[in-house]
């Protein structure tokens, strides 16, 4: 399973756009890229998933370059409630739905 590397922490201010980049140099052909958000003492929550190019939903955008060795989660106009840990996961459900979490990125949004 591909290993991911992402910043340990990031700071931002309300109203700003936040981009969190994840490196996954060993991503396999069948792997998807998925991002989860986790608040303290809660379970992770699915944000977005993609395979290539760009994916957008009501919460975020996911940018994946052609070589797929990295990906960027973009959160538009963050608010204080976006303060959380964000996990980048790479894998496929083909063999198992096992999710491999790293240590994630702690995003702190300040007023």
């Amino acid at each position: 399973l591909a290993k991911t590397t992402q910043p340990i922490s990031m700071d931002s201010y309300e109203g700003q756009e936040v981009n969190i980049t994840c490196s996954h140099n060993n991503i396999a052909t069948n792997d998807y890229i998925t991002w989860y958000q986790q608040f303290p003492s809660q379970g992770p929550r699915f944000i977005i998933q993609g395979y290539k190019t760009k994916v957008t939903n009501e919460v975020a955008s996911l940018f994946i370059p052609a070589d797929r060795k990295s990906s960027t989660l973009s959160l538009p106009r963050v608010s204080l409630s976006d303060t959380a840990v964000y996990y980048c996961l790479v894998g496929t459900g083909g063999a198992t739905n096992k999710l491999i979490f790293g240590t994630g990125t702690l995003l702190a949004v300040q007023p």
Binding site: Y32, T34, S41, Q42, G43, P44, R45, F46, Q49, Y87, T92, G93, G94, A95, T96, N97, K98, L99, I100, F101, G102, T103, G104
Partner: protein, 114 residues
């Protein structure tokens, strides 16, 4: 609709004791997975069950076991508790297995071993 429900929410046990954690998946979901999250780390995969059969097992000792019932609810059992077993135990349900489906997590059970 109810999400994934876990019980109890908090639990304190003594070293050497046994614990049973329970999980009810979202209605219609047939896959349940268990994760352990130690403070400051990401969740670590323990087990996955689909249609009452074990489909995946993480790198955990045999003191950890689980099962899934005909109604798709699940139990995680941990024997001979160690201080290091103190963690947030998360249950996640998915509609199916073997597909890139979204996993829905419960709030977790906070286990403290003293």
């Amino acid at each position: 609709d109810a999400g994934v429900t876990q019980s109890p929410t908090h639990l304190i046990k003594t070293r050497g004791q046994h614990v049973t954690l329970r999980c009810s998946p979202i209605s219609g979901h047939k896959s349940v997975s268990w994760y352990q999250q130690v403070l400051g780390q990401g969740p670590q995969f323990i087990f996955q069950y689909y249609e009452k059969e074990e489909r995946g097992r993480g790198n955990f000792p045999d003191r950890f076991s689980a099962r899934q019932f005909p109604n798709y609810s699940s139990e995680l059992n941990v024997n001979a508790l160690l201080l290091g077993d103190s963690a947030l135990y998360l249950c996640a349900s998915s509609p199916s297995w073997g597909e890139n489906t979204e996993a829905f997590f419960g709030q977790g059970t906070r286990l403290t071993v003293v």
